[in-house]
């Protein structure tokens, strides 16, 4: 007997929501903590009170939230698409440099040499701004370039790499070479970005002083909201069919091609999106830490991003964010308490995670929740 086709033969799974109910409540709690609780504890509660959130904590958490954006971007490209980038620090630094240029111009005549030009240019005896600085006095252009510069670099690099079907460890090595080459380039004074000193001594944004508690708190809240926004964006991307194609590329690229998808477009899209997110993170990072120099492009920094993602748990979005907080929290404590052991600890952590926690902290939590030993 033939089955009646008009009746539903099979219960097909429902489309999954962007976040589950508990997911949304968690999201809301995080948003409240960033936007309401932190400003209150920092600005309204008097410093003597045990509930007071110190300026040090604001600076540290603001910095870590920037790192969490990096880890999230890394998760999209590595966790979901299986492309390990060891050059994401470059995109972060590029976003940071674009922001830094704007902040340098905002110093105006308040620098050491009382000149319209940034101090390092006066020091190098330059008479006019080089062409790279053409748009640096416009805040609007800066906001665009923060996204466009890393995006364009990533697009061009990715286009050639993916078109040549460079994969796996070869791709990782090339990305590392890319960030290393960029670091050497930025170390040179002729490049026009302040050489090995980079940019520092920022005074104001949009004419508002940068070193006030209010501004610091504003940047903190902005960073938190960006992180949450990017989390939703990333979640939307991976919940769409687009995200499943990415995972399919990770698990069997040739099968994807024989299904009629051209992997190059997908890889290029997520690679560029990921780089743009890093650029935004860099732009938020620079005014908070007050310095940007070429050492941000060092390969070691990019490798650290991969470690955060691995520790937290790849292909889970929330995992890498947790990873960034855990590793950097440990770092800020250990580098003070036992400065000489930090790198050993980081290495050991990476080995331990690879051996015992292939799915990171999130994987451990899931296993524990299921009740497995």
């Amino acid at each position: 007997m033939k089955a009646d086709v008009s009746k539903p033969l099979v219960q097909l799974p429902q489309r999954r929501p962007l976040l589950t109910r508990s997911g949304w409540s968690g999201f809301l709690v995080a948003a409240l903590m960033v936007c309401v609780l932190a400003p209150m504890l920092n600005l309204l509660v008097p410093p003597g009170s045990p509930l007071h959130m110190s300026d040090y904590a604001v600076a540290l958490l603001g910095k870590i939230m920037c790192y969490a954006i990096l880890a999230l971007a890394m998760d999209l490209i590595w966790g979901y698409t299986g492309i390990l980038s060891l050059g994401h620090g470059l995109f972060f630094a590029l976003g940071g440099y674009v922001m830094g240029m704007y902040l340098m111009r905002q110093i105006g005549r308040d620098g050491n040499y009382k000149s319209e030009l940034p101090d390092f240019m006066v020091f190098l005896d330059w008479k006019a701004l080089p062409w790279q600085w053409a748009l640096s006095d416009s805040f609007f252009a800066t906001m665009l370039l923060v996204v466009l510069v890393p995006g364009l670099v990533a697009f061009v690099f990715g286009y050639f790499a993916f078109r040549s079907r460079i994969k796996g460890v070869y791709f990782s090595i090339i990305t590392q070479a890319m960030t290393f080459a960029a670091m050497l380039l930025f170390f040179r004074n002729e490049t026009g970005f302040g050489g090995n000193n980079g940019f520092t001594d920022f005074k104001r944004i949009l004419g508002i002083a940068i070193a006030t508690p209010g501004m610091r708190m504003f940047l903190f809240v902005l960073t938190g909201c960006t992180l949450l926004g990017f989390f939703l964006l990333a979640r939307w991307l991976v919940q769409a069919k687009f995200g499943r194609v990415l995972q399919a590329i990770r698990d069997g690229e040739s099968r994807v091609m024989f299904c009629g998808y051209s992997p190059m477009g997908y890889k290029l899209a997520i690679w560029t999106i990921s780089a743009m997110m890093c650029g935004v993170a860099g732009a938020l990072y620079v005014p908070q830490v007050g310095i940007i120099n070429p050492s941000e492009m060092s390969p070691a920094n990019s490798i650290e991003i991969a470690i955060w993602a691995a520790v937290g748990g790849r292909a889970s979005l929330i995992g890498p964010i947790i990873g960034a907080f855990v590793v950097n929290g440990a770092k800020s404590w250990l580098t003070v308490a036992y400065p000489e052991f930090w790198l050993y600890f980081l290495g050991a952590l990476f080995i331990a995670v690879t051996l015992f926690l292939p799915n990171g902290i999130v994987g451990l939590a899931r296993r524990w929740k299921r009740g497995d030993p």
Binding site: V5, P13, K241, R244, R250, S254, F258, Y261
Partner: protein, 291 residues
């Protein structure tokens, strides 16, 4: 305009209209290729062949994997390909699907599409589906997601971001899930399926693409007898609607499904005919038994 010219024009119009509506022309229902406009992406099978390989050769580091191979397949045909290891069966599929470029020769899909000018995704979209020797499904995705991914839709980046399954597509998947006997496993991860089920899922992923030509590399390897039997039934039901090219070592399976069997050896066609014919062929016995 003179009356006889008008008369002639009317007659010609009627003739053409009749030809267009009846579907039969002077050439016995076939239309000559030059009188029609080739539609891009449409497979022209008016010459009775869906796939042509002619004098194809390819060598890897001096080893001739395919050597002057010529082969053609009719629309709706189920062709079995057998041959000893290293005969070039998989390489042939690599060439048809665009994975390997031949050193010489021509490969045409229908009469008009030169497959050597396309890459793997484009060939897949033209309507050639391929099942690998080792079952390759997306292990981290569910059965349903695997099928949804393979579904015939716009496969560019932006449409994938905005994709929503419509009810016709959902029905298509639901029907297919029954065909491949995975209706109870929709939500399971593909990686947790048995070997035979993965084979079925991969076949399902091909079917949901609605290909005109299916290339199946050892589809029943690792299946139980019952699963093999069901696969044979499925293939026989596909015959006619789709063209199939099946590479297999399981002779009893081939006996169940085959009409024409092609024997490949050392990269070219050694013999062709019914299974009994090729099994009686002296040269075939020689390459298989190595006399």
């Amino acid at each position: 305009m003179t009356p006889d010219l008008l008369e002639e024009g009317t007659q010609r119009r009627e003739r053409l209209q009749q030809a267009a509506t009846s579907g039969r022309t002077e050439s016995g229902g076939r239309q000559a290729g030059f009188s029609r406009i080739a539609t891009p992406g449409e497979v022209d099978i008016t010459h009775g062949r869906i796939l042509y390989l002619e004098d194809v050769s390819v060598s890897f580091d001096g080893f001739k994997a395919i050597n002057n191979l010529s082969l053609d397949i009719a629309p709706g045909e189920l062709r079995c390909i057998i041959g000893p290891n290293g005969a070039g069966k998989t390489t042939m599929m690599d060439i048809i699907t665009g994975k390997t470029r031949p050193d010489a020769g021509t490969v045409f899909f229908g009469s008009t599409i030169d497959l050597l000018r396309y890459n793997e995704p484009q060939i897949a979209q033209l309507g050639i589906g391929r099942k690998f020797q080792k079952p390759t499904v997306f292990e981290q995705l569910t059965v349903f997601e695997n099928l949804e991914l393979a579904l015939k839709t716009d496969k560019r980046v932006k449409p994938s971001m905005l994709f929503r399954l419509d009810s016709a597509q959902a029905d298509q998947i639901a029907v297919l899930l029954h065909t491949i006997h995975l209706a109870d496993d929709v939500g399971r991860l593909a990686g947790s399926l048995s070997h035979g089920q993965k084979q079925w899922l991969e076949i399902g992923m091909l079917l949901v693409q609605d290909p005109k030509l299916l290339l199946l590399d050892e589809p029943v390897a690792g299946m139980t007898d019952e699963e093999t039997e069901r696969t044979a039934e499925l293939f026989l039901s596909l015959k006619g609607k789709h063209s199939l090219m099946v590479v297999e070592h399981d002779m009893s399976f081939i006996r169940t499904i085959s009409e024409i069997v092609t024997v490949l050896c050392d990269g070219s066609v050694l013999a062709q005919g019914t299974l009994d014919q090729v099994q009686a062929d002296e040269r075939v016995i020689e390459v298989y038994l190595g006399r």
